[in-house]
Symmetry: C2
Subunit: 362 residues, 2 copies
């Protein structure tokens, strides 16, 4: 079926671009001598995850227990939940996942770690845990200087096996220059390696030293002592990655196909794609509209749930019924809004991929 026959709004994946993105990151990781464990949160599909493994990924990263359940049920046998999992029922659900897949989970507190270990100890099993390191984002995780102290408390807990450390240089998304972004990437690598060294100096094992985000991956994975990289967004890229300099417009694999439903004034056209199709995420590092209207100079200046309002630039013109493609600000949240991603090659829809892990926030 031709792309021209898809109902709008809908998310479209350009297969040629996707495949180039997949191959490029796989080659980078191979050249750096680190394991690639991509974060599946960006696509949430089984089809792209399988392509990542086919390109040499050692396994998948996910964010939540519910996502791990989806991938384990589909036969993916090596999963890392890059999140300090805490909450009622979660340890027992992790035990069920660990019976089907090699599983590791993040921890950043002894209380959280103890709760995770309990059902594993009762079952005579061990859950692999990785200590989350705060390399400067100041979200979750312990500071590198506190890593050894937490490792000493976590390592002896029943039902757990300390496997390493991980971090995420998410604060690189705030960098407005390439130099600043590179500096964040080097810090990310230095700080997580520092934490690993401190844990080993305390006489504890730390085989895995994991980091990564799409804007920092290329530099950070080359750091001394790094064993694994976990970029997610690189499969699709988006307007934020273009603004950050992680990629060019031609590297954006995901667009939202939309229809102009109204041209109520000469300087205004309205799309059938609003925040329910494109998400309300602000472009980083600097706010600048709600996505790139491909092939035009016009800006997508405001979104409501079902409307995208385009400020029409001089030289552009739009008519009711016209179809356009929009590169969203943040691809990872766009896939979470839709049930199916349409995989397209040179204008032909090859497959519809169910967003199998959509909405698995638990």
């Amino acid at each position: 079926m031709s792309l021209d026959r898809l109902p709008t709004p809908c998310p479209v994946i350009d297969l040629d671009v996707l495949e180039r993105n997949l191959a490029r990151m796989a080659l980078r990781a191979q050249a750096a001598g680190v394991a690639l464990r991509p974060h599946a949160k960006t696509h949430k599909t089984l089809q792209i995850a399988r392509r990542q493994l086919a390109e040499g990924a050692v396994g998948l990263t996910v964010a939540k227990t519910g996502e791990a359940e989806v991938y384990a049920a589909a036969g993916f046998d090596d999963l890392f939940i890059a999140y300090p999992v805490v909450g009622l029922g979660k340890p027992e659900r992790l035990l069920a996942v660990a019976r089907r897949a090699r599983l590791a989970v993040g921890v950043d507190s002894v209380e959280g770690a103890r709760a995770l270990g309990a059902p594993f100890a009762a079952a005579g099993m061990h859950l692999r845990v990785r200590i989350e390191i705060d390399c400067g984002q100041h979200r979750t995780g312990v500071l590198p200087e506190d890593a050894a102290a937490l490792a000493r408390q976590v390592a002896p807990l029943p039902g757990l096996e300390l496997e390493g450390v991980f971090t995420h240089g998410g604060h690189a998304y705030g960098c407005t220059t390439d130099a600043a972004r590179e500096e964040r990437a080097r810090e990310e690598a230095t700080r997580v390696a520092q934490a690993a060294d401190a844990i080993r100096a305390a006489g504890l094992p730390c085989p895995v030293v994991s980091l990564g985000s799409t804007p920092t991956a290329a530099t950070a994975m080359a750091g001394v002592g790094i064993t694994e990289v976990r970029p997610g967004n690189y499969v699709f890229h988006d307007a934020t990655q273009v603004a950050l300099g992680s990629c060019g417009l031609e590297d954006c694999a995901l667009t939202v196909l939309a229809t102009i439903v109204s041209v109520p004034a000469a300087d205004r056209a309205v799309l059938d794609a609003g925040s329910k199709a494109l998400a309300a995420d602000v472009r980083r590092p600097t706010p600048d509209g709600h996505g790139i209207v491909v092939g035009t100079s016009s800006r997508l200046t405001s979104l409501s749930e079902e409307h995208g309002v385009v400020s029409v630039a001089a030289g552009d013109s739009f008519h009711v019924g016209q179809r356009v493609r929009v590169i969203p600000n943040h691809a990872c949240v766009v896939s979470n809004l839709h049930d199916v991603l349409y995989a397209v090659r040179r204008g032909e829809v090859e497959e519809g991929w169910p967003v199998a892990a959509r909405g698995r926030v638990e």
Copy 2:
């Protein structure tokens, strides 16, 4: 089951508050002598829609063809799509809906209207259309002074029946004072009524004069010549409605139940609810964090997809594993992120309501 047993994050509806909200708006519409046609986009469930009809609503408002399909398939027999529907395949889908339900659709261009009418004419049927009026939001719709000209073009088109006019005073969400909000509400009523008068003066029928948004509904529905009101958010309310003065905290029926997964510093606690559970929508009329952490003075200062970062206020304390409830900035987009809403009364979960029209953006 107790609320305390629900896995997090998840959306919870307080039934006592919901029922009070439903009854209050129904009484207001009854007192004003206007038809209540609530916008179902806020809840997207069949269960709340049925309660709205039981309270006297004449039918439902929806935003997209896909939502109309869900409600028509479930037996709802009076639907208005408050949107200028345009796009490949949509007229044919509307025809299928119109075979099951009394259907009206918005139009704001003759091109759009002509396309809608074509399959209806071929089937020997008529689609009811309402002309969208721009009362100041400057999104879709024609200005009141242009309404009669469009009506003259639309009314004779094959397959269409001109039923009236509608508007939405969405720009009231930018008002920082009650006085400004009331002024927007009066303008909304005046302008849509002006458009209706102009259409009638042109010798065309205009039986329906419809308006509404939750912040403007109470004032606008009392305007001269108004026949129908279409609020949506009032069923749940949210932090934006509290900020606008549409309601109090005690009128917020939807909260997101979340767990503290990390307390990495004395002034920082992290929830397992991020933008995938709470949505990234900015609070209006003035940006102020990402939701209200119920029963605390602490602010939810940043969200990433799976993390909500709380800046802990003096006097508040949080511990790993603690459960909290968050009133989101924008309830309508929260229901779109989840598959089930949990209906709770005094701490007991009575039912799980599937979000039947979730993701129906087409």
